[in-house]
């Protein structure tokens, strides 16, 4: 069975780099992107199992990523990362639409568990 493919979109390069390091150790295949546009283009070519995206990004934001991903491949899981959960009213709108969301600073252990859960189901 080929490894699960995970895409990380965050304009903070460190997020992508760190998640790549951790998740690849877990046996996933990880592709980080610094903005949504090339990520969405890549999604057209290849199917990903999980998309982890930041909510607040310039240009296309996490919200739009969510809609596009769910429209194009409904079974791809989307995990949203938000800067400050309590401050973003958008979080409410996200409830029920995203598969899960994590406020920053992200607990990597929880994120790993979440991915496992989503892929296992």
């Amino acid at each position: 069975m080929s490894p699960h493919r995970i895409m990380v979109i965050d304009d903070e390069s460190i997020v992508g780099k760190m998640l790549k390091a951790v998740l690849e150790q877990e046996g996933y295949e990880v592709e980080p992107f610094l903005s949504a546009a090339p990520a969405l283009a890549r999604l057209k070519e290849e199917k990903f199992d999980v998309v982890i995206t930041d909510l607040k990004m310039k240009g296309i934001d996490g919200m739009e990523v969510l809609h596009t991903v769910k429209k194009e491949s409904a079974d791809t899981k989307v995990i949203m990362i938000t800067a400050f959960a309590s401050l973003d009213s958008a979080v409410e709108a996200l409830r029920g639409k995203v598969d899960d969301f994590f406020p920053k600073p992200v607990k990597i252990k929880d994120l790993k568990a979440c991915i496992e859960r989503l892929l296992g189901a």
Partner: protein
């Protein structure tokens, strides 16, 4: 007193004055009329006396006693005339004068009667009669002359009285009106001044004594309004401060969130993948943590910069020099962006008292923004000039970059407002605004999306007479 009452009072007093003058003039005219009536009577009497003396002469010439009876009837006539004189005339000419005339006439009658009885004999009697006749005439003559003089003097006196009261009325009328209007105008002027300064944002009250009239009511109302406005403005400023504090805290939270998350993730990852890391990788992780803490430090520094009133290191400087220095500092960036930059500096600018470092920071912030908003081939023009009246110098930075959408224009000075995602902190304009404001200057922006943006800085000209506040 109310203005209406003042005007009424003025009007009433003028009317009373006019009535009084009229009354006195009327009295005088009445007096003159009585006197004139008496002079008429006196003239009649005079004619009678003249006729009596004529008959007297006839009697002496011809011894004609019928002449004496004629005199007698004339005397009776005159007596009735005198008796019939009204009390007003008696008052006008004086009771003694009238009595004396009557007595004289009585004596004359007695003499005539005696002569009638004795015939033409008694020579001394004749002389007595002549003398009394003479007296009678002279007396009545004198009275009527005196009365004429009196009439004349009364008329000229009334003329004078009328003239002076007219003058008095005029002066009072004009004076009262002037005083009323002078007060009104003065109050209006004060109101105008205060309203003007209120509209300039200087909420002062009318400090002079407030009159107790309608304008006084207006003034009190304006004072109350001024106070109310001042309170409101304080409240508005307060709430604006709170609002920008709110933006600031939310911004700080958000802005610090990313580097904190990064540090946290690096640390967690380090622990997760520790065994698989080479020595270089581990060092790289620590370098990244250090970078992220620097990033946090930079944000905190910028914030402190803004919130803490800076120890100004103000020096008297040449603004063109400062612009040139800043320009050189971004020269390389201009080259990389392939922007056509131009300087247009006015000559002989007066000096400014500024913290050069801070103004350079502002100019670099603004020029960097312009360059970041410009595509290759765009233009950036920096000009300096002196505003009329030599009180302010102006720097304009005009670019033909992408411009700022109308709806964002209000937010560009907000802390953390940025359209550059993570590559901008959104503090550049916020900090610049604070610096210019600390220099008692202004920083303004105008922009048209797709056309370009113009930032204008105005700084006060250095005035050696004004000691800088410590």
């Amino acid at each position: 007193m109310k203005i209406v009452h003042k005007i009424n009072l003025a009007n009433i007093s003028v009317i009373i004055l006019i009535a009084l003058t009229g009354f006195f003039a009327f009295q005088n005219i009445n007096l003159v009329l009585t006197k004139l009536r008496f002079t008429e009577i006196a003239d009649d009497l005079n004619t009678s006396f003249l006729e009596m003396r004529l008959s007297e002469k006839n009697f002496f010439l011809y011894g004609d006693t019928s002449a004496l009876s004629e005199i007698g009837s004339k005397i009776d006539e005159s007596m009735t005339t005198l008796e019939s004189v009204g009390p007003d005339i008696i008052k006008a000419i004086g009771r003694e004068n009238l009595g004396e005339l009557k007595a004289c006439l009585g004596r004359y009658r007695i003499e005539v009667e005696t002569l009638k009885g004795k015939g033409a004999q008694g020579v001394e009697m004749q002389a007595g009669l002549r003398e009394t006749g003479q007296q009678l005439r002279e007396f009545s003559d004198r009275i009527s002359r005196l009365e004429r003089i009196k009439v004349n003097s009364i008329i000229s006196r009334s003329k004078r009285q009328l003239f002076s009261s007219l003058c008095f009325i005029l002066i009072t009328a004009i004076g009262l009106r002037y005083m009323t209007f002078f007060n009104i105008l003065r109050s209006l002027k004060q109101i105008k001044n205060v309203v003007a300064s209120i509209s300039q944002g200087d909420f002062r009250a009318i400090e002079t004594e407030i009159p107790r009239d309608e304008l006084g009511t207006v003034m009190t109302a304006i004072n109350a309004m001024s106070m109310e406005l001042e309170n409101r403005e304080e409240q508005i400023i307060q709430s604006k401060k709170l609002a920008s504090l709110g933006i600031l805290t939310a911004g700080v939270a958000h802005e610090l969130g990313n580097p904190l998350n990064n540090i946290s993730m690096i640390a967690q990852t380090y622990m997760e993948v520790y065994e698989n890391l080479s020595k270089e990788d581990r060092i790289d992780f620590m370098v990244k943590i250090e970078e992220e803490t620097q990033r946090i430090k930079h944000i905190v520094d910028n914030l402190l910069d803004f919130s803490r009133p800076k120890k100004s290191r103000n020096t008297v400087a040449d603004l063109n020099g400062v612009v040139l220095r800043s320009f050189k500092l971004v020269q390389n960036m201009i080259h990389v962006c392939n922007v056509e930059a131009r300087l247009d500096l006015a000559e002989d600018l007066p000096a400014v008292l500024i913290d050069e470092g801070q103004i350079v920071e502002v100019l670099i912030n603004l020029m960097t923004n312009s360059l970041q908003a410009s595509s290759p081939g765009a233009r950036l023009t920096v000009t300096t000039s002196c505003l009329p009246e030599n009180e302010f110098l102006r720097i304009t930075l005009e670019d033909t970059g992408k411009g700022i959408p109308q709806e964002l224009l209000d937010h560009v000075f907000d802390p953390f407002f940025t359209t550059k995602g993570n590559s901008g902190t959104g503090l550049g304009l916020f900090v610049s605004y604070g610096i210019v404001k600390n220099h008692q200057g202004t920083l303004k922006v105008s922009s048209k999306e797709g056309v370009g943006t113009c930032f204008t800085i105005e700084l006060p000209v250095y005035n050696p007479n004004i000691k800088e506040e410590a």
